[in-house]
């Protein structure tokens, strides 16, 4: 088995391209279909609206129900308002404390350390320790652009970092309204789509599973940063990223979703479109040849292995997700993350990426994969 970079990339993108073509077609078809339906409202429906308040229905009865409901709602609202005003004091204290912490952090440490802290996603349960190396090596790219503004909200991209598997985008957000007063601690871009210069979709909010998370820092009353992190599906050869979304929604992130919080959401229509030119010269990958030493379970295979600044990334094809990878004898201080990246329809298998975070590049790696009490053994040898 002799892997090469191009094969690996086309293996991922070909499948995606095909999948995306189908999705794009279906999306278009659905839009066309819904354009045609329910455009004509029957006369009886319009009449029903016009006569709603004077119809022969038992209005008194309906009003009684409505009034009863109204009374219950009012009581609920008053109760909620009381509890919210009590909570607001403690929330404000938390926001102020967070702001103080951020300010202290920036002044007390170098900017790289600050970025490492910001890009560290352990607080949202994602271990991405390799990002530290990438930042120290200067692989994070600054994006220079003006805010795109709508309805008192400005958004711009400030940083991008992209390699074979990861895509990080940092957005700066500026608001006319006060984030503190409106009790905002999170933001969401709706209908977010990222394509490259060839129109290939790298990320589409409603079609891909590759969004891994976001992290928001409220910097001051009118500024916040939103870091979004996703699996980029091997489009490293892209030179331009086209980032688009249609709405910005500010909201309060709570552990429990409450209707009252939803009503306080601030929604802004914004046709955000921006092309980011990527500087790919810094991205370096080391490819490993894969030698199969023992194969008790033919349903699981390593198809590729790449070493980059996030560590060792091993692409695994398997029938199911229940497998263990044994690298304890090779790496000493490491963490393993497993990402499910989709179905491989040609081979009828599921694809996973195992990321081993240790930064020590090895010439030869022996590893075992255990699945269903069967063991497969592999030797990975550095190709270049």
């Amino acid at each position: 088995m002799k892997p090469n970079v191009k094969k690996f990339k086309s293996f991922l993108t070909k499948k995606n391209k095909r999948g995306i073509l189908e999705e794009d077609y279906l999306d278009k078809k659905l839009k066309e279909y819904y354009k045609k339906v329910d455009n004509e409202v029957p006369k009886s429906f319009e009449d029903a609206i016009q006569t709603a308040f004077s119809s022969k229905k038992d209005k008194k009865f309906l009003k009684f129900i409505a009034k009863k409901q109204n009374f219950i709602d009012k009581i609920k609202f008053i109760k909620e308002k009381l509890s919210r005003s009590f909570l607001k004091v403690s929330q404000l204290a938390v926001v102020l404390f967070s702001c103080l912490c951020v300010t202290y952090f920036v002044h007390a440490t170098s900017i790289v350390d600050y970025l490492v802290g910001f890009f560290n996603l352990s607080d949202i349960n994602i271990n991405n320790s390799g990002i530290e190396q990438a930042l120290e090596k200067g692989e994070l790219q600054n994006v220079y652009m003006d805010y795109i503004r709508a309805e008192g909200v400005g958004v711009k991209v400030s940083y991008v970092l992209m390699n074979d598997l990861n895509l990080y985008l940092v957005f700066d957000i500026e608001t006319d309204f006060s984030l503190k007063e409106r009790d905002v601690n999170n933001v969401n871009f709706q209908r977010l789509v990222i394509t490259n210069e060839n129109g290939e979709t790298i990320y589409n909010q409603y079609m891909n599973d590759n969004f891994k998370g976001n992290k928001v820092i409220v910097q001051d009353e009118h500024h916040m940063k939103n870091l979004i992190f996703m699996i980029s599906d091997g489009n490293v050869e892209s030179n331009i990223l086209n980032v688009e979304f249609t709405d910005v929604i500010f909201y309060k992130n709570t552990t429990e979703e409450k209707e009252s919080d939803r009503l306080n959401e601030i929604s802004t229509k914004m046709n955000f479109k921006h092309n980011i030119e990527l500087q790919n010269e810094n991205v370096e990958n080391k490819i490993y040849d894969i030698i199969v030493k023992k194969e008790e379970n033919p349903n699981i295979k390593i198809s590729n292995a790449i070493f980059d600044y996030t560590g060792l990334n091993i692409l695994i094809l398997s029938d199911n997700s229940n497998f263990d990878i044994d690298v304890k004898n090779i790496f000493k201080d490491f963490t393993i993350n497993s990402y499910y990246i989709g179905e491989n329809k040609e081979l009828q298998k599921r694809e996973f990426v195992i990321n081993i975070s240790e930064m020590n590049e090895k010439n030869k790696i022996k590893l075992k994969i255990k699945a269903n009490n069967q063991i497969n053994e592999y030797e990975l040898i550095k190709n270049r």
């Binding site: 189908e22 999705e23 279906l26 999306d27 078809k29 659905l30 839009k31 279909y33 819904y34 354009k35 045609k36 339906v37 329910d38 455009n39 004509e40 409202v41 029957p42 009886s44 429906f45 319009e46 009449d47 029903a48 609206i49 016009q50 006569t51 709603a52 308040f53 119809s55 229905k57 209005k59 309906l62 009003k63 129900i65 409505a66 009034k67 409901q69 109204n70 709602d73 009012k74 609202f77 969401n188 709706q190 209908r191 909010q205 409603y206 079609m207 249609t246 709405d247 929604i249 909201y251 979703e257 209707e259 939803r262 009503l263 306080n264 959401e265 929604s267």
Partner: protein
Amino acid sequence: MEELIKLAKNGDQDAFTELIISMKNELYGVARTRLKSADDIDDAIQETMIIAFNRLNTLHENKFYKTWLVKILINECNHIYRKQRLREILGFENIEDYEDSLGKEVIDETISDMNFERLIEKLSYEEQLILKLFYKNNYTTREISFVLNRNENTIKTILRRAKEKIKQNYAGGDK
């Protein structure tokens, strides 16, 4: 719209009716996803209007009036639908061919459009409703999650699965 809502909040029924007329297509489409009989659809909108009018003071942010009204309408449609089903099950009423009473418009559809409609009709009520709110009414998934009282990620998953089902049914020979 803001002015109409303010007037309605002050008890102006005509202003409220005008507001409903301005979104009649959207409301009709939502009601039709659940109810097949024209009479039921008319009942649903009337009851929605009376309930909404009486509860207008609970709408704190006027700009959310659309999702708020759609939410009330969906609840009313579900209420009528459940009553209807119960009557059918208990045998109080014969099951009618509601399609006829709808007086379906004769649209010059292409064969592929008819097939596509069939594929969508195979989906569950919830899937059809979410697709309609997303593609027809241009709601964001967050707005849909508010209307249906569901987590946003659940909405995204349902949306994706619905599309997956359409694809599978299409590939499975429902052409």
